[in-house]
Symmetry: none
Subunit: 202 residues, 4 copies
């Protein structure tokens, strides 16, 4: 939560308590539940408790809402990951931190926004894609850096790009079948995902 207050403070993201902030949250949930195209601006307005016309005082158009949702989602996820990395010493601990963070991003409060990064990419026009992509690159670079360290430490031997690609798919897909209130904890899920790419100690 501290992460979010900081991002709000430096103006990177919208205050979730503000009208615009609520709008982003509601939109994220609706976009993720029904899909971007099947969500109308009236749906969002109703959810927020305003009228459809008022939305356009906050965003120039519908696509900008999606873009805002994605931008904030990736910014938050990046910050959370940075904070977690700051506390992890060994390469393995850092990798574990990343996996855990990503799963938390997927299944946590702003999981909707994070899922949209994968599922609604096409709904963004070129300009917005470029904007979000730049932010996602920062996020991905954190991953690649850690994976390189892990590989240098001899814990994995697969190409790091490949590992990350496989992991992106495997983790984001948990959205379709893993639920926080099920039998398995997120901790356990992260551990299993780790086992997937790190050779067991001999």
């Amino acid at each position: 939560m501290t992460v979010i207050t900081e991002l709000v403070a430096d103006g990177s993201i919208t205050n979730p308590e503000s009208a615009k902030g609520k709008l982003i949250q509601c939109a994220a949930r609706l976009f993720n539940t029904k899909g971007f195209d099947r969500t109308t601006v009236r749906d969002i307005a109703r959810e927020v408790g305003i009228l459809s016309g008022s939305i356009f005082h906050h965003f120039p158009n519908k696509e900008a809402i999606l873009c805002g949702v994605m931008r904030e989602a990736v910014l938050i996820a990046t910050s959370k990951m940075r904070a977690a990395l700051a506390l992890a010493d060994t390469p393995e601990a850092r990798l574990q931190a990343l996996i855990h963070c990503e799963l938390e991003s997927i299944h946590g409060l702003n999981g909707d926004g994070f899922a949209l990064l994968v599922n609604e990419w096409r709904s963004l026009g070129p300009d917005n894609q470029a904007e979000v992509l730049a932010l996602r690159d920062v996020y991905e670079q954190l991953w690649l850096d850690v994976l390189d360290q892990v590989r240098a430490a001899g814990l994995i031997d697969m190409d790091t790009f490949l590992v990350r690609r496989f992991l992106v798919g495997a983790l984001s897909n948990t959205y379709t079948w893993f639920h926080l209130d099920g039998d398995m904890t997120l901790q356990q899920l992260a551990h299993q995902a780790l086992k997937l790419i790190v050779r067991p100690d001999q």
Copy 2:
């Protein structure tokens, strides 16, 4: 290809040479490229070379086209997998066959339809979901059976359900970054995916 002729022969799928068959193929590509919602029936008609109204001689509505695409995609994939399994003896060979088959389904001729099974699930109404789900269960059961055999042979020690879930995500996600005309062959990709879940021989 023999697999397809057989399926056409017993009426399971539409003859790809027929008007309806072409319609399914064009629709699959458009749905996968632009998304189901952003693809209009006029788009499809134009692609096929007919008029929009003519589509509804073959399908009662737009959703039924998507359903048809998915149904045929999963039927073809299942048949191909069965054929491949028939030629594989050892558990490891069988697993490799499955991975290779799934990647071929994703990146091959009816890759569009296969991708839609993952990405446009929500665009199907309850009835159509049930219909396709039943067919997908058959497909998934082939996977679980082989994974059980592989596990019994001691090649993996993770829960087979979990392995399959991770693999579904990792493999389907290759759609976004792997291309047949790139540096890596599909054979190599399959090999790397196999390494992900099977412990290397010590």
Copy 3:
């Protein structure tokens, strides 16, 4: 029934046993049940047991079917009325015959066609309207003649045109509330309608 065989014999109406005859009957029922606009040629074709394209071997277009239905309905009704008049001697008996005949036309076998004469008049183009109108004028003339006789006999004192107009409305409207299998017989209904316009004997 004799009336119909005669009309068939001289070519005035289509043989009800023929394909075209069945088509007219089915169309009449559907037009009357669902309305002309809401009845599709496919509806009619399905009912008859042929395919939609085949209809146009019998009729140039949909409106011509309606026109055919109306024409035959009024021809049959006129013939029946003529036959009934031939058996009635006194003015009152003749009037009673007309009322009874009209009610039989409304509630009998070709009641659908007769109802359409009132309800779907607008669905006919000018040419078809003129054609049917000419036939209807013959029918109406029979009424006016008898009404004049009845008036001459002192049984009614209202303007005959007005009487006929009131009667047209009152009788055709029975279609909405009177049913042959109800408590009242058609005979009784006719008697009540007669009482409406003929002064009771003093």
Copy 4:
């Protein structure tokens, strides 16, 4: 006209000056002239002077417009009839008032709506039919009450239900042949209709 201002005031009907009110009036006329099915929402919009999409801010769908037209027509007719009854003392005067009112409803300003009650009943779905039917029952009950009084006074001897049915048909049918600017006045027409059911004084 006072009647209408009252109904507008208590929210029973739409203000005829408002956009929605104009819409109802235009729709009524078009529905009655061309038929419900042959009237497009674009026709209505053009007549009102708005665009087709704007209609759906006032009504959820086309059928709801027809329902609105009918509901207002029967509400106005009922109110007018109540007002007229309040001024009539004797049973005969009350009956004459009803006949006159109904003819005014048929041929007056909202005659279109009143005609639709008879002619486009089928175009309403079950729910809308039930809604309008409930209002029509109120209207019809006024008729039956008065007819019972008239019968009790010995002015008619036919079953009142039957009288009303005959009268509904006879009066509504005047729509097809009587015109206010013709030779006969509405007053005279009402008088003739009265003569139809009330025994002349001996």
